[in-house]
Structure formats: C-alpha cells, structure tokens
C-alpha cells in the first residue's frame, strides 16, 4: 500500500517542474500538468515499474467559463492496482485552442471517452483514430455540456402558463 503523501513525493521527484500543482483532495491525489506534457506523463505513470498506473478509470472534461485561457479541463483518473491507489490528472486548455494529445495509444479504452469529451465540450484530441460525436447526433452544431447552454432555470417566474396547458 502506498499512501497519497508517498505518491505525492514520488510523483514530484519523478516529474519535478512538469507538475504545476498537486494537492490531496479527500482520498485522492490531484495533479495539474501542462497540456502538452500529458501524454508523456501518463505514459511514464503507466510504464513505471514501481507505480504501475495501468488502468484508466475515467476520462472527461470540465468547463470553467470564468477562467481566462483555462476554460477547459481534461480530467484523467488512473488506477494502480498494485498499490490500490488512484491518481487524478488535470490539464487545462484555452477556449481558443482546446486541443490535447490523445492517449488511445496507451489505453485503448480512452477512445470512446475522448469521443464523448469531444462530443460534449468540443475538446479535440490529436492523433485520435476516429474523433466523431458519439452520443449526440452527427449534425449537431454545438457542444451541449458547455456552461453557456444552461438548462431552464427551475426558479424562473416569467413562464406563461398558457403554453403548458395550465390556465
């Protein structure tokens, strides 16, 4: 068993300045890295004899419209079964060019998760074998999980009841 603190010091020793920020958030170590380093860092974490983060648990996007030039985050959860520990990696991308390297060559299961992230956030993954929409229809021309597409506000009062069959 490896504790989060041990993992934090090991990862910091391994990558040094490539780690922009790291913190232990509840039961998981969260690391922020530069977007152009993500592929090499994940490859190292995967192949490191000691750490062996061989399982990709989850990959997804987050939209922070207020953060200038850091509007999008791609979040990776890796799992090391050897040490029974997970790690979270984050890379921030600007709205002007939301593009990051694909990790499908490292983890084939990233394929659909990256397609889903593209589908909902418009984040493109370089070197992805087949980057198309997956859950939404192909003709859709926007990225629905971005924050500018708000769902209807449950507390609004300006609804006209006549349109809802309530007179």
């Amino acid at each position: 068993m490896l504790s989060n603190e041990d993992l934090q010091s090991q990862v910091e020793a391994l990558f040094g300045a490539d780690i922009l920020h790291s913190e232990i958030n509840f039961d998981i170590l969260s690391i922020e890295v530069a977007a152009d380093k993500i592929h090499s860092i994940i490859a190292q974490l995967q192949n490191d004899e000691m750490l062996r983060f061989e399982f990709l648990t989850l990959l997804g996007g987050v939209h922070y419209p207020e953060q200038v030039d850091r509007e999008f985050a791609v979040v990776y959860h890796l799992h090391s079964w050897k040490h029974k520990i997970r790690v979270r990696l984050k890379a921030f991308l600007p709205l002007s060019n939301p593009s990051i390297d694909s990790i499908t060559d490292l983890y084939p299961c990233a394929n659909w998760m990256e397609r889903e992230t593209y589908d909902f956030y418009g984040i493109t993954f370089a070197n992805h074998p087949d980057l198309r929409r997956i859950l939404n229809e192909d003709s859709m021309d926007y990225f629905p999980l971005r924050k500018e597409y708000a769902l209807e506000d449950a507390t609004r009062e300006d609804k006209d009841d006549r349109f809802f069959g309530r007179f």
Binding site: N25, I28, S30, T57, L58, C109, E137, L145
Partner: protein
C-alpha cells in the same frame, strides 16, 4: 472483385485470416438498433462473409438523455432518480453509490446498521442483475425455459425493494444519510423466506445450464478476450473477472463495511461467454453468503445518519418543531449547504465499476457530475471479440457482456 468488396477486405485483412470465402460475397447486415436479439437499442453494422463476421461498427447513443447535463441543474437529492436509469437492472446499487458519494463529500458518519442494510440491498440488486443477464444468455442459446425460472426469483427481490421504498424497477432507494424508514416486519419475513427458498430454486435453474452439454458447446470459446486486452479496454466487473483478473471494488476499496464480510471473488480462465456466465452464477451464490452474514449480524442502531442538513426530517417533527421545519424547507428547496470539493467514488455495480466524479463549487447543484458507466467503456471491445465469429455467437457475446442500453447511453 468489386471496389466495395476490395475496400472491405483491405480494412479487415488484419482480422480476417481465413483464405476461403464461404459464398464469395461480403454482405452488410444491420444488427440492431431494434433487433429482438440485442435486448436493448444497440446498432452493429456487421460485414459478414456468409455467417462469419469480418468487421463490425457500433453506433451508440440511441437513448441518450443528457444525464450529466441534467445533474448540473438538480439539487443533490434529486439526482438519485437519474441514477436509477443508468443500469436499470440493478438500480439500488446506483442509488446507494450516489448517496455514498455525497456522504463522502459532506463527510457524514454513517451508522453501521445503515452500512449493513445497504449491503443487503446492494447484494439483492446484484443477484437480480445477474439473474437477468444469465437467463438472457440462456434465451439466446435457445433455452427459453431458463428465462422464465429466474423471473420468479427476481420477482421476490422486487417485492423486497417494494417493501423498502415502494418502487420496483426505478427504485430511488434510500436517502443521503441512510434510509427513510427501517426494514419493515414484512421485509424481514420476506427476506427470511427468500434466503430459505432461493438457493434451492437457484441450483435447480443453474443445473439446467451450467453443465448442460448443448449450452457448454454453444458458449465455450465464444466471444473470448484475453486478460491483457480486457485490461486495455477498461473491463471491470464480472467480464474482467471472467478473463482471470480478480479486481473487485468491494475488495480493493471497501465501502459500506464490505470489509466485514467473508466472500470469494470468482475468476474465470478463458474470458469467453461460458466463463462470464459461470462467474455471474458464482457471484450470485457469494451474494447470498454476504446477505446471510449481513442479515445475521445486522447491528442495532439508527437507520439514518445524524445529518439534519441533508436528511429530510420526520413529518411529525416538521409540524411541531421549528428547526425541523427549516431543514425541511431548505432541503425541499434545494438550499443545502454543500462543501466545495472534488470526489471520485466508485462501487461495484452489476456489470462493473460504477463511478461518480463529482465537482462541487458549493452551489445548490453539482458543478460537474460525471458517471463512470462501466459498459460504455467495455463495450468498445465488442467488435474485436466477435470478429471471426458467427452472427449467432455475436448475439450471445453481447448478452453475456451485460451491456445495458440505459447505462451505455446515459
């Protein structure tokens, strides 16, 4: 050779080693989206040479309902009904997994009794889930009788759900912090009788398939996957264990006091349809063991945690007690004070690791909620598993993988 055919052969060359073509022509077949053998809305565009599959391409998303977007608009307690509709064969696991995620965020201390009650319900749900999946494998191999038998038992499990929460399929079971009421006397009676009668009924059903020559011939070697490929494709749950990897969230990251129970994680060898079937059958037996242990040692105590900010108070208190009235109002209006934070929590769902990645910015709704939907991730391996197999093999491979359309498409 026509141009179309040439194109297909080239793209499929690495998969398709056989030199002979059966009828000399490659056909395209739409297997799904509404096909009686897919048990859900899946489309597979198969390229077949006679009966043999050369390549296949999946289309998913037919019942996409934007759960992750909806979750960003809903207070935490209103997200539970969304989770029902992920893997609807085992909704209670999804519900309770979500409650545990929120409890982790608000750092609620959960009484032991709640943990044990949850374990009982989650294992019942696992049994119901596996019963459906395995009986469907039976149907697809032509054994319709083996489909009807387990439905009697599943019905009993659904009656148990009904006793707890009043619903059967989309259960919305429990609350953040525990349950809305303790197990009722009827529940105790029904659970005792279930524990008594189920193992016998189960073995009877199991004996129809498990060592049945026809069933074994039909399922062994069908849709196999190696442990390496299964890992690469993000397999979890019974499908991964059938390939021989003993990863189970209940053991690796115990939640809800799973560490208190003695049970075995069955693993397979070949990762084929038969192994997936057998792993599920054994898991049903182990689930019964867990339920017996949890029910036998059900601790005394409260059926809910002491988290008045998040747990809806009793109706009598709401009418008589100012504080309870305030909490009631705040919870119903979704004005609970949720701390900031980022959480990943996962539970062992019916078909794999069901995870919740939750970002809270302190608002009334999650800032972002992402579900780790196990079958969305492992269904990617399907084309690789059925290439070189026959169409009827593709059918039983799909049903033995326990791909649930609701979870796949979110």
């Amino acid at each position: 050779m026509s141009k179309e055919k040439e194109k297909v052969s080239n793209s499929a060359a690495e998969f398709y080693n056989s030199k002979e073509t059966i009828d000399g022509d490659i056909a395209t077949i739409n297997f799904g989206p509404t096909h009686p053998a897919t048990h859900g809305i899946f489309q597979n565009i198969l390229k077949v040479d006679g009966e043999k599959i050369i390549s296949s391409e999946q289309t998913v998303g037919y019942i996409h309902r934007a759960f992750e977007k909806l979750a960003e608009r809903r207070p935490y307690n209103q997200i539970t009904p969304i989770t029902d509709r992920l893997n609807y064969c085992s909704s209670p696991i999804n519900n309770l997994g979500w409650h545990m995620t929120v409890e982790k965020l608000i750092q609620a201390e959960i009484p032991k009794r709640v943990d044990y009650m949850r374990v009982i319900i989650m294992e019942l749900a696992r049994i119901a889930d596996h019963l459906i999946c395995d009986s469907v494998v039976g149907v697809d191999t032509g054994a319709l009788t083996s489909f009807f038998y387990p439905f009697q038992e599943r019905e009993k499990i659904y009656e148990l759900y009904e006793e707890i929460c009043g619903a059967r399929l989309t259960t919305n079971i429990g609350r953040i912090g525990g349950f809305e009421r303790d197990f009722t006397p009827v529940f105790h009676t029904k659970l005792k009788s279930f524990l008594k009668t189920f193992p016998k009924a189960f073995s009877e059903w199991d004996s129809m398939l498990a060592r049945n020559r026809i069933f074994m011939d039909r399922t062994r070697g069908t849709g196999p996957i190696s442990p390496e490929r299964a890992l690469a494709y993000g397999f979890t749950g019974p499908n991964l264990r059938a390939a021989g990897v003993d990863y189970d969230v209940r053991v690796m990251h115990p939640y809800s006091s799973y560490e208190d129970f003695d049970f075995i994680i069955p693993v397979g060898v070949n990762g084929d349809t038969y192994d997936r079937f057998m792993v599920r059958q054994e898991e049903i037996r182990q689930s019964i063991r867990i339920i017996e242990q949890a029910y036998g040692n059900l601790p005394e105590g409260n059926y809910k945690a002491d988290v008045p900010d998040f747990y809806l108070p009793d109706k009598a208190d709401v009418y008589n007690n100012m504080e309870a009235l305030i909490y009631h109002f705040k919870i119903v209006m979704g004005e609970m004070e949720i701390p900031r934070g980022e959480i990943y929590h996962s539970v062992e769902g019916g078909n794999g690791e069901l995870g919740y990645y939750l970002i809270s910015d302190g608002g009334r709704t999650p800032y972002r909620l992402q579900f780790r939907r196990p079958c969305f991730i492992y269904y990617q391996a399907y084309p690789e598993m059925i290439t070189g197999q026959t169409i009827s093999d593709a059918v039983i491979t799909l049903s033995s993988m326990n791909v649930i359309a609701g979870e796949l498409d979110a």
